[in-house]
Structures are given as structure tokens and as C-alpha cells.
């Protein structure tokens, strides 16, 4: 039997009873994944934080819906909503959420050139340019929103 074939037959623990020829202790050692694997590297930590950021993105959606609902209900509920939004814990929560959403957005736009391979006149558009275009579009969109919110309209 080839070495590879022998290894693979040893790797099926549920078949162990039928494999008397292979003593139990010669099985390959399977390292366990530590529960704190994500602390081992900066990139792993960043990745876990980015995954976590989706919770905060969801929170912002909920917050926006609450705002829309308050506006719909009339001036009084809207004022109550603003008061509630000004409470320290809501402020802190929103600050933290903002930080996570920024992390989410920035890592997302940095990823864009990896996924998009654009060609212009036969040449590949440099990754930086693709990322820069995304950031620029983000900037313009944020600018428009800010202009509307701050009373431009």
C-alpha cells in the first residue's frame, strides 16, 4: 500500500474497530484550534473585528428605522427620540458603532481592487486607482448626504 493510502485509512476514527492491523496510537496527531486563535495575529484580530462590525451595521439600520418611525409618528415622538438619542449610553453605543462601520467600509473598499480586475485599452487598471475611485464615490455620496442633512435643501 502506498504511504498516502495508508495515511488516509488511518484518518478515519469511526472505522477504527475494523482496522486491527493499525494500532490505535499510530494515528496522526490532530492539533486543536485554540479558542483564542484570533489573538495570535494582528490580521486575525482585524478579521474578527470586521466580522463583528456586521452587528453594528445592523444596529445602524435599526436606529435609522426607529428614526423614520419617530418622524412618521409626529413631533412629540420625534422629540422623545432625539432625547433618547442624546442619552450617554446611546451616544457611546453610536460612537462605537460608527467606528466599526468605518472599519467595515474602509476594509471593504480596500478589497474592491482584489475582486475587480478592470482593463482599459488592454492594460490592467492599477489596484490603487480602483480603490481610489471607490473612496471618491463614497466621499461624494457622504458629501451629498451631509449637504442635505445640514440644511442645503
Amino acid at each position: 500500500m502506498s504511504e498516502l493510502a495508508r495515511e488516509s485509512s488511518m484518518q478515519r476514527p469511526h472505522e477504527a474497530p475494523t482496522q486491527r492491523a493499525v494500532p490505535a496510537q499510530v494515528r496522526p496527531y490532530r492539533p486543536r484550534v485554540s479558542r483564542f486563535w484570533w489573538l495570535r495575529r494582528r490580521s486575525y484580530l482585524l478579521f474578527v473585528l470586521r466580522e463583528l462590525s456586521s452587528v453594528f451595521v445592523a444596529w445602524f439600520v435599526v436606529y435609522l428605522l426607529l428614526l423614520v418611525d419617530a418622524v412618521y409618528q409626529g413631533p412629540d415622538p420625534y422629540r422623545r427620540f432625539l432625547e433618547w438619542s442624546g442619552r450617554p449610553w446611546v451616544l457611546v453605543l453610536n460612537m462605537v458603532a460608527l467606528a466599526f462601520v468605518l472599519l467595515h467600509a474602509i476594509t471593504w473598499f480596500n478589497l474592491a481592487p482584489k475582486a475587480m480586475v478592470l482593463r482599459m485599452q488592454g492594460r490592467r487598471v492599477p489596484a490603487r486607482l480602483v480603490a481610489a475611485a471607490h473612496f471618491a464615490a463614497w466621499g461624494v455620496a457622504s458629501g451629498v448626504v451631509a449637504w442635505i442633512v445640514l440644511g442645503g435643501l
Binding site: 496522526p28 486563535w37 495575529r41 478579521f47 482584489k114
Partner: protein
Amino acid sequence: MPDTITLQVARYRPDTDAAPTMQEYVVPLRQEWAVLDGLNYIKDQLDGTLSFRWSCRMGICGSCGMTVDGDPALTCGTFLADYAPGPVRVEPLANFPVIRDLVVGIDDFMRKLPKVKPWLVREDEPGVADVEFLQTPPQLDEYQQYSMCINCMLCYAACPVYAIEPDFLGPAAIALAQRYNLDSRDQGAHQRMDVLATAEGVWACTYVGECTSACPKGVDPAGAIQRYKLTAATRTLRSFLPRGER
């Protein structure tokens, strides 16, 4: 530069050990010596029982991958002098079962690899024996980077998703699928899609990006995966369009 360096080498003897232990060896430190040279010195001069894989000593065969001071690396291309004064920890590649000492089993990858059909799939001709397929340099450019993969498994060792979810197809297998998908001579992209555009395929990847940092051949498997995600997503969206407009 001191003239010796200590290697802390993981030992695992499956017939007697329950788990790996570390063993120290002192080897000569020479400017031109790679970690693999240190291991070969141990094997030849100090302890013939040490097991590890290697073949080409020039970053081509992909068999000498190990964990050097915590990072996945080709030991033939990782130099001892860069770790002076030491000690240097040498362990088997992470995320794989250890067969003995520094030798890991890669059966899992060998099972997954053929699923992505890493060969030229042709649907119009029955055989390719006496057909010539021409290709221009820009067409070669499309996939050449992905064809540099040497199956060294460093990317799997670096990937936390593979560690947690062993069913994940993994970086190299997906990069190799893209190597053929993007080849102008290939017609198998839609066949590979059934394997790639799944929860165990590209969608398992959460873009940690460590596979690309670990890759010694500049393959950029993380890029290959993100690129395929866009392809898969576009295909899905297109499938909602009326037939004529796809």
C-alpha cells in the same frame, strides 16, 4: 554573527507520543544556510530519526513547508541568518494532521483538488491530442499568476477559516480553479461553478488575506477568491434577467 544557532524542533512519534514535544539541536550557522540545511545537518550528523519532507531545495517542489517561528514558510527559502542569534522554532504546518515530526498529511487537499477540475476542459472536441490551441501573451497574462502554485500548502496553514471549517475548499484549490477558468483554451468554467460558488467554496472565505501573505510564489489566492465571488454574484444576478438580456 555567532557560529551556531539552536533549532527547537517539534517531534512527534506516533507510536509512543500522545502529542508533539520540542527538542533542541545546535547546528552551525552559515550565511547561506536555509532552515532546511539546518534540518538536514541534524538528520545527517545529530539525529537520524528526525523526519521531514523536502526535495528540490529551490522553492519548486513545494514539499518543505513548515512553521518557522510561528509563520508558515518554505524551509528551503527561509534563512537561518535571519533568525540569528536564535533559537528558531520549527514545527509542522498548522491545520494539518501530523504524521510524524514535521511531516503532515495533505490527503484532504488531494481529495478536494480534483473537484475543481484543474485541467483544460474542452466541450467541443472529444480529444486534444493533435489539436493546437493558440494563445496570445495577453491571454496568457490572464491566468499566469495562478499557474505558479506549487501546492506547498502554506496558504492552508495560514488560513483560520480552513482551521475552523475543514470542509472549506481552500485558497490553493480555488486559485487553481481560476487558473483554468481564466485560460482562453478552457471551456469548463460553468462546470467548476457548482463546486466554487457554494458555502464550502468561495463563500466560506471571509477575506483574512493571510493566504496571500504566506504564498511564496506570488499567487495571491485571496485575490483569486474575491474575484470569483464577484463572478459568482454577477452570474446569480444575471440569472434573474429575462433570457435575451443575459
